[in-house]
Symmetry: C2
Subunit: 452 residues, 2 copies
Amino acid sequence: MAVRQHKYLLDESEMPTRWYNVVPDLPTPPPPPLHPGTHQPVGPDDLAGLFPMELIAQEVSTERYIDIPDEVQDVYRLWRPSPLFRAHRLEQALGTPARIYYKYEGVSPAGSHKPNTAVPRVYYNAKAGVKKLTTETGAGQWGTALAFACSLFGLECEVWQVGGSYDAKPYRRTVIETFGGTVHRSPSRLTASGRAFPEGHSGSLGIAISEAVEVAAQSPEIKYALGSVLNHVLLHQTVIGEEALLQLAKAGEDGADLIIGCTGGGSNFGGLAFPFLREKLAGRMSPEIRAVEPASCPSLTRGEYRYDFGDTAGLTPLMKMHTLGHDFVPDPIHAGGLRYHGMAPLISHVYELGLMEAVSVEQTECFSAALQFARTEGIVPAPEPTHALAETIAEALRCKESGQEKVIVTALCGHGLLDLAAYDAYLRGQMVDSGLSDQDLARALAAVPVLG
Amino acid sequence: MAVRQHKYLLDESEMPTRWYNVVPDLPTPPPPPLHPGTHQPVGPDDLAGLFPMELIAQEVSTERYIDIPDEVQDVYRLWRPSPLFRAHRLEQALGTPARIYYKYEGVSPAGSHKPNTAVPRVYYNAKAGVKKLTTETGAGQWGTALAFACSLFGLECEVWQVGGSYDAKPYRRTVIETFGGTVHRSPSRLTASGRAFPEGHSGSLGIAISEAVEVAAQSPEIKYALGSVLNHVLLHQTVIGEEALLQLAKAGEDGADLIIGCTGGGSNFGGLAFPFLREKLAGRMSPEIRAVEPASCPSLTRGEYRYDFGDTAGLTPLMKMHTLGHDFVPDPIHAGGLRYHGMAPLISHVYELGLMEAVSVEQTECFSAALQFARTEGIVPAPEPTHALAETIAEALRCKESGQEKVIVTALCGHGLLDLAAYDAYLRGQMVDSGLSDQDLARALAAVPVLG
């Protein structure tokens, strides 16, 4: 049989040394976040209670590139550059003329893309003298990533995990503790935000964020770290797309026709897509860029583009984003990492500019795709990127119809070895789909403040 | 800070294309297996009910190298070559002058080294027209690997999992099913070997092997695949050591001073160690080679070198090996993959020849090492290789005392993401050590047939 190359690797010396900031390349800048009290644009001082100044500077930066500190690069090299795979065996099973590539972030210590931003976040906080970081986690990938990064720089890490996930996935807590972190079930009794809900409530990302923010505000030695959504988080994730561009060239491709990623808060998607968007805006490549979201939490395809809070209690700044309403609690689908009411302001803005598209998909279709993927490519995907895989497979089958040899690049942002309850439910026929009714959506949006 | 390279990668084109057979390089050949009835050396025909002829030929081969079929190489390339890491961060934490390298097999679809042999086994069986493979699994890594390989070549896969592990690790079953396999709790009601034990019995690898062998013997379209122990299994695993030799040279090392691997049946250890042993026997390198086994299942350090059965029911050929007795049931330690009563005949022979050494270690020391490793290198190790890590750390600390700059290469044969119950027990202080009393050992050895 012909020799097929499955992986395109980069040497550690080829790892990107700068993060890419898409903001200066966009035709118009994204609208600023607003102070929750005054409704005026927030300044650096408004954020100083939550984040160290170097991260605030990155949040509002208009520089195209920001150097990755040596200390961060040294940690990145524990798993980066991550591999780009050509999915020969999946293509063969589908009988498609499309060429499918997937950028795999499951090789990281947390098993997902999250350490790409956890490591610099902890580094900058450590440099600023911070002793402890608080955060929320849903499925647990972000909490794991932050605990890992804190262990390397000697910071304490305190994680509020969404109650439903805490109960359903006890081993996520074990991993976080293995990395030295502490985990609380959210809503907890430790904060006013938590005590506002009855004990045993299944929680939400919005509530867990409120709890972590509340504790961080109590001491200058404690700061908060959000796992997605913010500009600087997406910035750090651009190492994914920068590497993928280099690897695609090694694979002999002169570009990509379609970039597909799942979207929850948007960091994995932005991380892969933004460097390709730069190439598109510069006219060097013309890929379609497509976000895939769960049908039960469709912020881009069915939410409204409005100013809304990032959390349930209204403690965060107001951000202009596609939102389903800050007190919207999505159905408990298995892709816990996609159950967020809003979309990153930067991705929302790019979407409004018409530079990308979005689709939604039901979870049973996702797990059907996941099984086909596992049985051909050998990797058990996390529930989140199964959304991207479902759309990738659907597109590859459309290519089979049309005969188009599209080059598709998809983000496989993590493995599913800590999410096997989801596979178990699917294999036993116990997984159900749950869309979002117009009534529920209207009710949730009614709670969003009317602004700008 | 200075730029440190953490990973030594090989391009897919540098992947070994031959397996290495240590037999012709040994001063004397290993004693042959004996027929369980006649006690005469078994011939190929005696094994034909269990294995296809190409694997039987490998089992008795005296050729130094055997070509890896293209179809197997194509699957290997899904994850191979696997990375060799330099443990800079662990070394720094220990303050050791030793240079520690670990060869990481957790990047495979099963999360362990097992697919290295599962893939060729299924390939040769498929080529011989076999429709179904049966096997045993303890911790679950072997069952996962075989199910994965069967999915690629279109074979059915039926797995008997040791009852205690089946109950304690429900998600292992989910992974095996995700790859399309079927899992039975052993002892099952499906076989006479299983029905000899009461329902709900916690089982052992020996019992599960008997069940799988019994079913395979029922039809020429069904064969059996053992996860370790046999010569051809160790042969397939030598890709590990061959790659490590190339990678060590890329790291600028002109050799290794010490090779450390954990031993259960011996396949991971042999896979890393045998290519280094070849270099040692040829005088090109002079590494010490050290096996590490659990104190509760110490076949090399406390077993006897005798002919014994590979399974509990006495269905397999008799093999000359270090054994604790074929009906010995080790304490239920967390490293399920190391709970086997015997040691690979080839490793037993190498040990008898004085070409390697062995030590044993208690499991709490292993998990203490595992936590230190996870918090510095970012990888959560499987319980089995924590034994090798504990010895690696102990040796690195001895180097700190002596000032020796030893080059240590250790086998990190899998990740522990499906073994988190073990970490949970350790973190909550609920893990206990359990040695092996002289009385229990004597009782188990009394059941071994007196032969040769």
